[in-house]
Amino acid sequence: MTRNRAIISLIIIALMLIGPYWLYVPVLVLATLTFPLYWEGILLGFVIDTFYGLGNYESLFMRFPVALGVTILILLMPLARKYLRLNA
């Protein structure tokens, strides 16, 4: 599992460097949905926002929307698993 997480993270980094956003953002979201507590996704979100974000925003939440989105998704995943019975 740890190996898969690392491989997917490396794939996302590679896509981020050479691919369009409509490729690496969905892969990041899928990885967040698939792996439990995918904290690497938050880091990748920060990297995406740092490289390609709008920059210069007063609020941290506005400055890092992708990282914030991934954090919220990770927080919501246990609820989704519980109510949608994803682990069943």
Binding site: L17, I42, T50, F51, Y52, N56, L60, A67, P78
Partner: protein
């Protein structure tokens, strides 16, 4: 010992702890990347530069696969387009000369010398309408400078300048607003960025606007900002919604000019 009741879970407060840990992680990460982000951009520059060279090389190497027939057709079409554009250019040049003479008389001539920069990263690599260009503080670039195409179209503004690169936010980025003038009736308007090189404008119902109308910048240069692409108006609406598109293809930009 046999128990016939539920044992209290030791992980009862785990979700709460997880939320707190993730929020701390987010805040720490945000602080770290806010402070050290500009240095990582510097580290990425060589990658982006080499990537541009590689991608261009690959796309050129596939050219020979195209058929001779399609190339002949494309060549003929492009000849027609060039001839048509040359005619338009001659007419525009005459008008521009007249305008320049008028501005000279009024003492408002404006130099368009700027710093030419190559675009390292453009949409769709960036999820927002953001460019990374290869000119920075070393070339005298500072935040707030206007960025235009070599043809004169205003496209954005420098938001952050690093040592040898800069971040440019296009006016079409979501949430960005810019003052403009609708050429048809000279009405001042506010264009709101919608991403992907598109703008949204809300106008009173009675204001005349048609598809193809030009939208110009509000400054004295009156540069082309966008062209009206769609006008939506419901029978009971007080306002009409106009969608405009930047004449620049932001997905294939190669060079821009940063004005002083």
């Amino acid at each position: 010992m046999k128990t016939n009741y539920h044992l209290k879970s030791k992980n009862h407060n785990k979700p709460g702890r997880r939320i707190v840990l993730l929020l701390i992680f987010f805040v720490l990460g945000a602080g770290f990347f806010s402070f050290f982000g500009k240095y990582t951009i510097g580290l990425m520059e060589p990658v982006w530069r080499s990537q541009n060279v590689v991608v261009r090389g690959i796309s050129n190497s596939f050219e020979w696969l195209r058929s001779k027939d399609s190339l002949i057709k494309e060549n003929a079409y492009l000849r027609e387009v060039v001839a048509s554009r040359e005619l338009e250019l001659v007419a525009l040049r005459a008008a521009a000369d007249r305008e320049l003479r008028l501005l000279e008389i009024l003492g408002r001539t404006e130099g368009r010398e700027g710093t030419l920069a190559s675009v390292l990263v453009r949409p769709p690599e960036t999820p927002y309408d953001v460019l990374i260009i290869d000119a920075g503080t070393n070339q005298g670039i500072v935040a707030g400078q206007q960025v235009i195409l070599p043809e004169g179209t205003i496209i954005g503004v420098v938001s952050e300048a690093y040592r040898s690169s800069s971040r440019v936010i296009l006016h079409s980025a979501s949430g960005q607003k810019i003052n403009a003038v609708l050429e048809r009736n000279g009405a001042p308007i506010i264009m709101e960025g919608r991403g992907g090189g598109n703008f949204r404008i809300t106008l009173p119902r009675d204001m005349a606007v048609e598809v193809g109308d030009r939208i110009l910048s509000a400054d004295i240069s009156s540069s082309l900002l966008a062209v009206v692409g769609k006008v939506s108006l419901g029978p009971t609406d007080s306002f009409k919604e106009v969608l405009a598109t930047s004449p620049a293809n932001i997905f294939s930009l190669r060079f821009v000019l940063v004005l002083p």
